[in-house]
């Protein structure tokens, strides 16, 4: 039986959102791109190298908008709640080396597959910002996705409130010890496990790296696997009581997206 593959790629219209908390103006764009500064007001801009249509929403009252500086290891939830609803974690900030308009935060593909918009929040903040799904994949290449963000920093939370710069990325090696952080459980912090196998498959998700223990909980999906300042992967799932993640190089292979470095 051939492996199934579900891939979605789209450029969403810029978000026009009413904040539930009232901290934002009633109408604004959270997906304002560098391109939109130049062509604001135009209905659409065709990307030169991708063939995608980029829809532009006029930016109103932007001076009053407080956009979060996005990092890996932060909340990326379906609602503005840290404890209820569908909850995920950001992995690392990423960008396309050939197209500066394509930048944002990574997460698991299954976090994006049915959620076109998610809410981002830093650890020591009470503000949520909306982010629009850009691409996702769950299948033969792994379980990855990313949401747009123009305010991404080359950093991730390695523990609660513990910001760390990203200086590189690498492929996981069997026997190597890695560390993890996710927002799934407020009472647990940084976790660690050893790489048990690469190229694992489960539920027709392949290209997964399996660790030697289960150190993750619901809400950790998409969270960063790392060693020191080096990015290794974004968390996927639990398979047979072992934590599994997708290596970050898959983002580059699929979409030309690389981890943003300090």
């Amino acid at each position: 039986m051939p492996l199934s593959q579900a891939t979605r790629a789209s450029w969403q219209p810029a978000a026009v959102t009413t904040s539930k908390l009232g901290q934002y103006p009633s109408k604004f764009s959270l997906m304002r791109t560098e391109a939109s500064k130049d062509v604001e007001g135009l209905p659409a801009l065709e990307s030169a190298n991708s063939g995608f249509i980029v829809h532009i929403t006029p930016v109103e009252e932007l001076d009053d908008v407080r956009l979060e500086n996005t990092r890996g290891g932060s909340y990326l939830n379906a609602t503005q709640s840290t404890t209820t609803g569908n909850r995920c974690t950001t992995g690392f900030t990423m960008h396309d080396v050939t197209n500066s308009n394509r930048r944002g935060v990574s997460t698991a593909g299954h976090c994006a597959s049915d959620t076109p918009q998610r809410w981002y929040r830093n650890h020591n903040s009470s503000s949520w910002s909306a982010h629009v799904r850009q691409e996702w994949h769950v299948g033969q290449n792994g379980d990855i996705g990313w949401y747009g963000s123009n305010n991404s920093l080359p950093q991730f939370y390695a523990s609660w409130g513990g910001v760390r710069n990203v200086t590189g990325s690498a492929r996981p090696v069997v026997g190597q010890r890695l560390w993890f952080f996710g927002t799934g459980n407020a009472s647990t912090g940084q976790q660690t496990a050893t790489v048990a196998a690469n190229g694992n498959c489960a539920s027709n998700r392949c290209n997964l790296t399996a660790m030697d223990s289960n150190v993750t909980v619901p809400g950790d999906s998409g969270g960063p696997w790392f060693s020191g300042n080096t990015a290794y992967g974004v968390h996927c799932c639990t398979v047979g009581s072992l934590s599994n993640f997708t290596p970050v190089y898959v983002f580059s292979n699929l979409w030309g997206m690389v981890v943003t470095r300090a």
């Binding site: 039986m1 579900a6 698991a108 299954h110 809400g219 799932c237």
Partner: protein, 156 residues
């Protein structure tokens, strides 16, 4: 009052396949099925806890019973596409009938029945990812039903 069903009465694909094959030691049918159908009231599907990926996120919805198929499903009206979700329950889950309401006894959570709003460990997947089980899922869910591999209740 809970009418807890006796497991030896449950017809699973594992039992059927094992009997038909003669139970040889090397027979693949001796291996536990990745997904088993528990034919009871209600009908539920249970995974083996070993071979499927349990997404480390949370999925909420209302447990509902489809009288036509006799199966349970999760209804999430707030979802974009995955409004109807077929749960694959973790090992040890048993169907229950409580005061006329169908449900399951979910390890770590207790009894949940139709009408209950639940938050479960796992994410809805496009059914295309489970194409090898399409025929099995047809027992309970139409093709457009998303699939949720349940790890348990969502409390981390």
């Amino acid at each position: 009052m809970i009418n807890r069903k006796r497991t030896w009465l449950l017809t699973t694909t594992t039992v059927v396949l094992a009997l038909l094959s003669g139970c040889g030691a090397e027979d693949p049918a001796d291996e536990p099925e990745v997904i088993s159908v528990v034919e009871d009231d209600p009908v539920i599907m249970v995974h083996d806890g070993q071979n499927l990926a349990i997404a480390d996120t949370t999925t909420g919805g209302e447990l509902q019973f489809d009288a036509t198929t006799g199966c349970l499903y999760l209804h999430n009206p707030h979802a974009t596409e995955a409004t109807r979700i077929g749960p694959l329950w973790p090992p040890g889950t048993e169907p229950v009938l409580v005061d006329g309401k169908r449900g399951v006894d979910l390890p770590g959570a207790g009894v949940i029945t139709e009408g209950d709003h639940v938050s479960l460990h796992g994410a809805p997947d496009d059914p295309e990812l489970y194409s090898e089980w399409t025929d099995l899922f047809g027992r309970c869910w139409p093709e457009q039903t998303w699939v949720l591999v349940v790890g348990g209740p969502s409390q981390g």
